[in-house]
Assembly symmetry: C2
Homo-oligomer: 113 residues x 2
Amino acid sequence: MSVKFKYNGTLWIEIEGEPVFGPGRVELLERIQQTGSIRQAAIQMGMSYRQAWQMVEHMNSHLSHPVVISQRGGKGGGNAEVTQKGMDAIKQFKAFHLRFHQLLAEQSKDISL
Amino acid sequence: MSVKFKYNGTLWIEIEGEPVFGPGRVELLERIQQTGSIRQAAIQMGMSYRQAWQMVEHMNSHLSHPVVISQRGGKGGGNAEVTQKGMDAIKQFKAFHLRFHQLLAEQSKDISL
Protein backbone atom coordinates (compact mmCIF):
# COMPACT_ATOMS: atom_id res chain seq x y z
CA MET A 1 0.00 0.00 0.00
CA SER A 2 1.16 3.51 -0.72
CA VAL A 3 -1.02 5.09 1.99
CA LYS A 4 0.91 6.25 4.99
CA PHE A 5 -0.86 5.70 8.27
CA LYS A 6 0.75 7.28 11.29
CA TYR A 7 0.10 7.29 14.98
CA ASN A 8 -0.14 10.72 16.52
CA GLY A 9 -1.06 11.87 19.99
CA THR A 10 -0.85 14.43 22.72
CA LEU A 11 0.67 14.26 26.17
CA TRP A 12 0.27 16.29 29.35
CA ILE A 13 0.66 16.06 33.12
CA GLU A 14 -2.41 16.46 35.28
CA ILE A 15 -3.21 16.61 38.95
CA GLU A 16 -6.56 15.28 40.11
CA GLY A 17 -7.71 15.26 36.50
CA GLU A 18 -6.70 18.86 35.86
CA PRO A 19 -3.96 19.53 33.28
CA VAL A 20 -1.04 21.35 34.87
CA PHE A 21 1.87 20.88 32.47
CA GLY A 22 2.11 20.18 28.75
CA PRO A 23 3.54 21.31 25.41
CA GLY A 24 1.86 24.75 25.52
CA ARG A 25 3.24 25.54 28.96
CA VAL A 26 6.67 24.28 28.00
CA GLU A 27 6.61 26.71 25.09
CA LEU A 28 5.41 29.52 27.35
CA LEU A 29 8.19 28.90 29.86
CA GLU A 30 10.82 28.71 27.12
CA ARG A 31 9.65 32.02 25.68
CA ILE A 32 9.64 33.63 29.13
CA GLN A 33 13.18 32.36 29.55
CA GLN A 34 14.22 33.79 26.17
CA THR A 35 12.53 37.17 26.53
CA GLY A 36 12.67 37.64 30.30
CA SER A 37 9.07 38.76 30.09
CA ILE A 38 5.68 37.09 30.58
CA ARG A 39 4.15 39.82 28.43
CA GLN A 40 6.52 39.26 25.51
CA ALA A 41 6.09 35.51 25.76
CA ALA A 42 2.30 35.98 25.68
CA ILE A 43 2.50 38.23 22.60
CA GLN A 44 4.70 35.72 20.79
CA MET A 45 2.16 32.98 21.48
CA GLY A 46 -0.87 35.09 20.55
CA MET A 47 -2.39 34.99 23.99
CA SER A 48 -3.28 37.73 26.45
CA TYR A 49 -0.96 38.72 29.26
CA ARG A 50 -3.73 37.70 31.65
CA GLN A 51 -3.90 34.19 30.16
CA ALA A 52 -0.15 33.73 30.32
CA TRP A 53 0.03 35.09 33.85
CA GLN A 54 -2.75 32.74 34.97
CA MET A 55 -0.91 29.75 33.47
CA VAL A 56 2.24 30.74 35.30
CA GLU A 57 0.31 31.22 38.54
CA HIS A 58 -1.39 27.85 38.06
CA MET A 59 1.95 26.11 37.74
CA ASN A 60 3.49 28.11 40.57
CA SER A 61 0.70 27.12 42.92
CA HIS A 62 0.54 23.42 41.96
CA LEU A 63 4.20 22.49 41.73
CA SER A 64 6.39 22.06 44.79
CA HIS A 65 8.25 25.28 43.93
CA PRO A 66 7.49 28.22 41.63
CA VAL A 67 8.50 27.81 37.97
CA VAL A 68 8.68 31.54 37.30
CA ILE A 69 9.71 34.42 39.53
CA SER A 70 8.50 37.75 38.25
CA GLN A 71 8.54 41.38 39.20
CA ARG A 72 5.72 43.54 37.93
CA GLY A 73 6.06 47.08 36.65
CA GLY A 74 9.22 49.19 36.60
CA LYS A 75 11.11 50.24 33.47
CA GLY A 76 10.33 47.96 30.53
CA GLY A 77 7.32 46.47 32.30
CA GLY A 78 8.85 44.11 34.83
CA ASN A 79 10.88 41.02 34.23
CA ALA A 80 10.46 37.32 34.70
CA GLU A 81 12.83 34.47 35.21
CA VAL A 82 12.32 30.75 34.88
CA THR A 83 13.54 29.03 38.04
CA GLN A 84 15.61 25.87 38.36
CA LYS A 85 12.35 24.06 39.15
CA GLY A 86 10.90 25.38 35.90
CA MET A 87 13.95 24.24 33.94
CA ASP A 88 13.78 20.80 35.55
CA ALA A 89 10.07 20.50 34.72
CA ILE A 90 10.72 21.43 31.07
CA LYS A 91 13.58 18.93 30.81
CA GLN A 92 11.58 16.16 32.43
CA PHE A 93 8.53 16.68 30.22
CA LYS A 94 10.48 17.04 27.00
CA ALA A 95 12.42 13.84 27.67
CA PHE A 96 9.23 11.79 27.93
CA HIS A 97 7.57 13.73 25.11
CA LEU A 98 10.47 12.80 22.84
CA ARG A 99 10.29 9.16 23.90
CA PHE A 100 6.53 9.23 23.27
CA HIS A 101 7.01 10.53 19.73
CA GLN A 102 9.74 8.00 19.06
CA LEU A 103 7.31 5.28 20.13
CA LEU A 104 4.61 6.70 17.85
CA ALA A 105 7.00 6.72 14.89
CA GLU A 106 8.22 3.22 15.62
CA GLN A 107 4.71 1.83 16.11
CA SER A 108 3.49 3.56 12.94
CA LYS A 109 5.64 1.18 10.89
CA ASP A 110 3.48 -1.72 12.03
CA ILE A 111 0.08 -0.23 11.24
CA SER A 112 -1.85 -2.44 8.87
CA LEU A 113 -5.13 -0.84 7.93
CA MET B 1 4.64 15.00 48.58
CA SER B 2 1.02 13.99 48.76
CA VAL B 3 0.16 15.49 45.37
CA LYS B 4 -0.38 12.97 42.64
CA PHE B 5 0.91 14.04 39.27
CA LYS B 6 -0.07 11.80 36.38
CA TYR B 7 0.72 11.67 32.72
CA ASN B 8 -2.32 11.55 30.48
CA GLY B 9 -2.69 11.71 26.73
CA THR B 10 -4.63 10.89 23.64
CA LEU B 11 -3.80 8.68 20.70
CA TRP B 12 -5.11 8.37 17.16
CA ILE B 13 -4.11 7.21 13.69
CA GLU B 14 -3.95 9.75 10.88
CA ILE B 15 -3.32 9.76 7.19
CA GLU B 16 -1.68 12.83 5.67
CA GLY B 17 -2.36 14.70 8.88
CA GLU B 18 -6.04 13.81 8.93
CA PRO B 19 -7.31 11.66 11.83
CA VAL B 20 -8.86 8.45 10.54
CA PHE B 21 -8.99 6.11 13.54
CA GLY B 22 -9.10 6.67 17.28
CA PRO B 23 -10.93 5.94 20.53
CA GLY B 24 -14.21 7.52 19.36
CA ARG B 25 -14.31 5.46 16.19
CA VAL B 26 -13.38 2.31 18.08
CA GLU B 27 -16.37 2.95 20.35
CA LEU B 28 -18.61 3.62 17.35
CA LEU B 29 -17.58 0.37 15.65
CA GLU B 30 -18.04 -1.63 18.85
CA ARG B 31 -21.53 -0.21 19.30
CA ILE B 32 -22.40 -0.95 15.67
CA GLN B 33 -21.17 -4.47 16.25
CA GLN B 34 -23.30 -4.82 19.40
CA THR B 35 -26.48 -3.28 18.01
CA GLY B 36 -26.19 -4.22 14.34
CA SER B 37 -27.19 -0.65 13.54
CA ILE B 38 -25.35 2.59 12.75
CA ARG B 39 -28.43 4.50 13.91
CA GLN B 40 -28.56 2.77 17.31
CA ALA B 41 -24.82 3.22 17.77
CA ALA B 42 -25.18 6.92 16.96
CA ILE B 43 -28.03 7.33 19.47
CA GLN B 44 -26.00 5.60 22.18
CA MET B 45 -23.11 7.96 21.57
CA GLY B 46 -25.25 11.09 21.40
CA MET B 47 -24.39 11.86 17.80
CA SER B 48 -26.54 12.20 14.70
CA TYR B 49 -27.00 9.32 12.28
CA ARG B 50 -25.41 11.54 9.64
CA GLN B 51 -22.28 12.07 11.77
CA ALA B 52 -21.93 8.36 12.49
CA TRP B 53 -22.55 7.45 8.88
CA GLN B 54 -19.91 9.96 7.72
CA MET B 55 -17.37 8.52 10.16
CA VAL B 56 -18.05 5.03 8.85
CA GLU B 57 -17.77 6.24 5.25
CA HIS B 58 -14.52 8.04 6.06
CA MET B 59 -13.00 4.86 7.44
CA ASN B 60 -14.43 2.74 4.64
CA SER B 61 -12.88 4.99 2.00
CA HIS B 62 -9.45 5.39 3.65
CA LEU B 63 -8.72 1.87 4.83
CA SER B 64 -7.73 -0.89 2.46
CA HIS B 65 -11.11 -2.58 3.00
CA PRO B 66 -14.45 -1.38 4.43
CA VAL B 67 -14.84 -1.61 8.20
CA VAL B 68 -18.65 -1.70 8.09
CA ILE B 69 -21.04 -3.22 5.58
CA SER B 70 -24.52 -1.79 5.85
CA GLN B 71 -27.90 -2.09 4.23
CA ARG B 72 -30.19 0.89 4.42
CA GLY B 73 -33.93 0.79 4.99
CA GLY B 74 -36.11 -2.28 5.25
CA LYS B 75 -37.86 -3.47 8.41
CA GLY B 76 -36.16 -2.14 11.55
CA GLY B 77 -34.25 0.46 9.56
CA GLY B 78 -31.47 -1.50 7.91
CA ASN B 79 -28.62 -3.33 9.53
CA ALA B 80 -24.88 -2.95 9.74
CA GLU B 81 -22.06 -5.36 10.34
CA VAL B 82 -18.46 -4.74 11.33
CA THR B 83 -16.16 -6.56 8.92
CA GLN B 84 -13.08 -8.62 9.71
CA LYS B 85 -11.05 -5.57 8.65
CA GLY B 86 -12.96 -3.49 11.19
CA MET B 87 -12.36 -6.05 13.93
CA ASP B 88 -8.66 -6.16 13.08
CA ALA B 89 -8.41 -2.37 13.17
CA ILE B 90 -10.09 -2.26 16.59
CA LYS B 91 -7.81 -4.96 17.95
CA GLN B 92 -4.69 -3.31 16.57
CA PHE B 93 -5.55 0.13 17.94
CA LYS B 94 -6.63 -1.12 21.35
CA ALA B 95 -3.42 -3.09 21.78
CA PHE B 96 -1.27 -0.01 21.29
CA HIS B 97 -3.70 2.17 23.24
CA LEU B 98 -3.36 -0.17 26.21
CA ARG B 99 0.42 -0.17 25.92
CA PHE B 100 0.35 3.64 25.73
CA HIS B 101 -1.68 3.89 28.93
CA GLN B 102 0.58 1.39 30.67
CA LEU B 103 3.53 3.58 29.72
CA LEU B 104 1.75 6.69 31.04
CA ALA B 105 1.06 4.96 34.36
CA GLU B 106 4.59 3.66 34.65
CA GLN B 107 6.16 7.01 33.75
CA SER B 108 3.85 8.84 36.16
CA LYS B 109 5.68 7.20 39.06
CA ASP B 110 8.82 9.12 38.11
CA ILE B 111 7.29 12.59 37.88
CA SER B 112 9.03 14.98 40.19
CA LEU B 113 7.35 18.37 40.08
